[in-house]
Symmetry: C2
Subunit: 363 residues, 2 copies
């Protein structure tokens, strides 16, 4: 399947765009979307860009019953000189295929998917907001559509990309969040689907999230499902701790998501010669470090917030206040560096930026 | 909400019904379906029976991304004197609400749901097949429909009931299946969603199921996700063992489904004064019992097959052949009794049968 096989139907009625300062996450979508279908025997076919539109499925479509689905989340930005860029998009499509493998969904051609995405962004480029901190959120996803109630992999799928202009995650500047350590509920366990971006993981997280919000915490910190001892991740973010000069993050153990931001942070720290280790880390260790005054910083990492400094952990009826509830030095430096690279303000030394359009070399 | 608030729109083009001996599970659906909507603030509203039809949703509808959904599975039967009956339907709706609670979905009114279902069955009564072993499979389900990419409980849902005429599970009489004990993958863990009937549990089971089928086994036996030692359930069934005269089934430990057939079997065994215990049981114990010649029978239980005798377990590269691969005495007796109660051939001593239409008492 080549990019030129793609059929493009442009909208005749462009929607009104929200104002840059009134952007909400994931509620308004651009004028177009990408779709392609999969049918057993024929593989992926009929890639097309069409006006943003609703989807019609049989009530027996598998997605409504057995949750066979995967998704990704990434962003497009305008650099200061009006160049459209993506942050490591190949990593997201690679992860999509890893999720596909776990969920028995046929893999997609990464080069083709990326070319299709670029085309879609160019068509809807007016939707990329350009105010400080804003971006175009991109949601590729695959759903199982076979109209059949048997529990087995679907013989039909739809791969869709929709896009939504999103505001700055931090409207009043980067600031710390309060996190409750989850005791009762479990996000994922080794042998389950924790390493995949699939709906079920998020459905299962809603209850713990709701309880923690009612108690004044913005997210939960998940512990491992076996011993309820080791730290996994935070809500929809990976998590890092700076303890006595060293940065520690849970190793990819088979139940946490391999975050694109996580691996970028690790590369950046290594690039800066800051010691960073990926290993098992228990909540008890974090608690002890805090007691001894060695827990210097903690932060979550993810596409949405980039870096989310943590100001408080609630664990075993105790509040651990970090860094006097203020954003730490390393969190700030990482946040600034990554967002500056994403918007072209800082040189892309580690090769993370993909240009949506080929640059025309001028002599 | 009362039954008489329900709007009914009948189809003008009835579909052709499949022949009794050509019924496949879950591929053909009746002429009508039930729908009602939920909107935050208004609760469940607009219950209606409409011609079976497709559903149109925004591509950003939560069900496509975060898997917030629940479902049920039950059956309607014709008794020999042409009475339409359901098997313990209130148990299914109670379980639906338990699943709703775990998934942060608003609960439904059980009496209303049951009344709506009865109405739907009466309208589509010509679709209940009456050949030996056939039935009308009923699939109530709830999907989250809010068009929003945030990870939070949806503010909108659809509750739908669709129905499919299904053939006899055992075309050539009840016969044993071969089961592979799963070593790598995990279905659910305490603190997760294993006790709920939600899509993610089934999506996560596909890979293990696929591998076991490739190896010639029809289902997998799930072990607990913590120690990979204790028996949980089989594919979409609960599991029972008869060891040295006693029937043992895993206790409801927080990660297995509370099957309606499971609890009916337990009640029936108690009614017959056959010793039955719900407790932890390890695969090692089953293996030992087999070695000592004390493993008399094993069987799965569920709405689809009622009783599915197990003829072989594959565990640690060994094949445990049970009862010479033949259906055991107890399995046969349970299967016959329950199917005879379901079709009105045997007296309903335990009060399991619900009549779809009020019986008109004749003097
Ligand atoms: C469960 C979970 N963990 C971690 C992350 C962070 O991953 P990334 O940095 O690729 O956005 C996300 C968000 O995608 C997530 O959903
Ligand atoms: C995971 C699982 N376990 C057990 C069962 C058996 O439950 P029931 O007897 O209510 O059909 C089912 C089927 O519904 C199931 O999906």
């Amino acid at each position: 399947m080549k990019e030129h096989d793609m059929e493009i139907t442009l909208t005749t009625t462009k929607k009104e765009k929200p104002k840059s300062d009134q952007l909400e996450f994931g509620k308004v979508f651009t004028d177009h979307m990408f779709i392609m279908d999969y049918t057993e025997g024929s593989g992926w076919h009929d890639p097309r860009i069409v006006p943003y539109q609703s989807i019609t499925l049989e009530p027996s479509a598998m997605i409504f019953h057995y949750g066979q689905s995967v998704f990704e989340g990434m962003k497009a930005y305008y650099t200061d000189d009006k160049d459209m860029v993506l942050f490591r998009p190949e990593k997201n499509f690679q992860r999509l295929n890893k999720s596909n493998d776990r969920l028995c969904i046929p893999e997609v051609d990464i080069d083709f998917a990326l070319a299709a995405l670029k085309k879609l962004i160019v068509i809807d480029k007016e939707w990329i907001p350009d105010a400080e901190g804003t971006s175009l959120y991109i949601r590729p996803f695959i759903i199982s559509t076979e109209p059949y109630l048997g529990v087995s992999p679907s013989s039909r799928y739809k791969f869709i990309i929709i896009m939504s202009p999103v505001g700055s995650y931090y409207k009043e500047g980067i600031h710390p969040v309060k996190i409750a350590v989850e005791k009762e509920f479990v996000r994922a366990v080794v042998g389950g689907t924790g390493t995949a971006k699939t709906g079920g993981n998020y459905a299962s997280s809603l209850k713990a999230q709701k309880v923690s919000e009612e108690n004044g915490y913005s997210q939960v910190l998940w512990l491992d499902g076996v011993e309820k001892k080791y730290i996994e991740e935070v809500g929809s973010m990976n998590v890092f701790f700076k303890i006595d000069g060293e940065v520690v993050t849970p190793a990819l153990n088979g139940s946490i998501l391999d975050g694109v931001t996580r691996s970028s942070i690790i590369e950046m720290l290594e690039h800066w010669n800051i010691p960073v280790s990926q290993r098992k880390i228990s909540m008890e260790e974090v608690y002890q470090a805090h007691q001894e005054g060695k827990l210097e910083e903690a932060f979550g990492t993810g596409t949405a917030a980039v870096i989310s400094p943590i100001g408080e952990f609630f664990w075993n009826d105790e509040k651990l206040i970090l860094n006097e509830g203020k954003t730490g030095e390393l969190s700030t430096k990482l946040y600034n560096t990554i967002t500056r690279i994403q918007t072209g303000k800082e040189e892309d030394q580690l090769g993370w930026i993909t240009h949506v359009e080929e640059k025309v070399t001028q002599e």
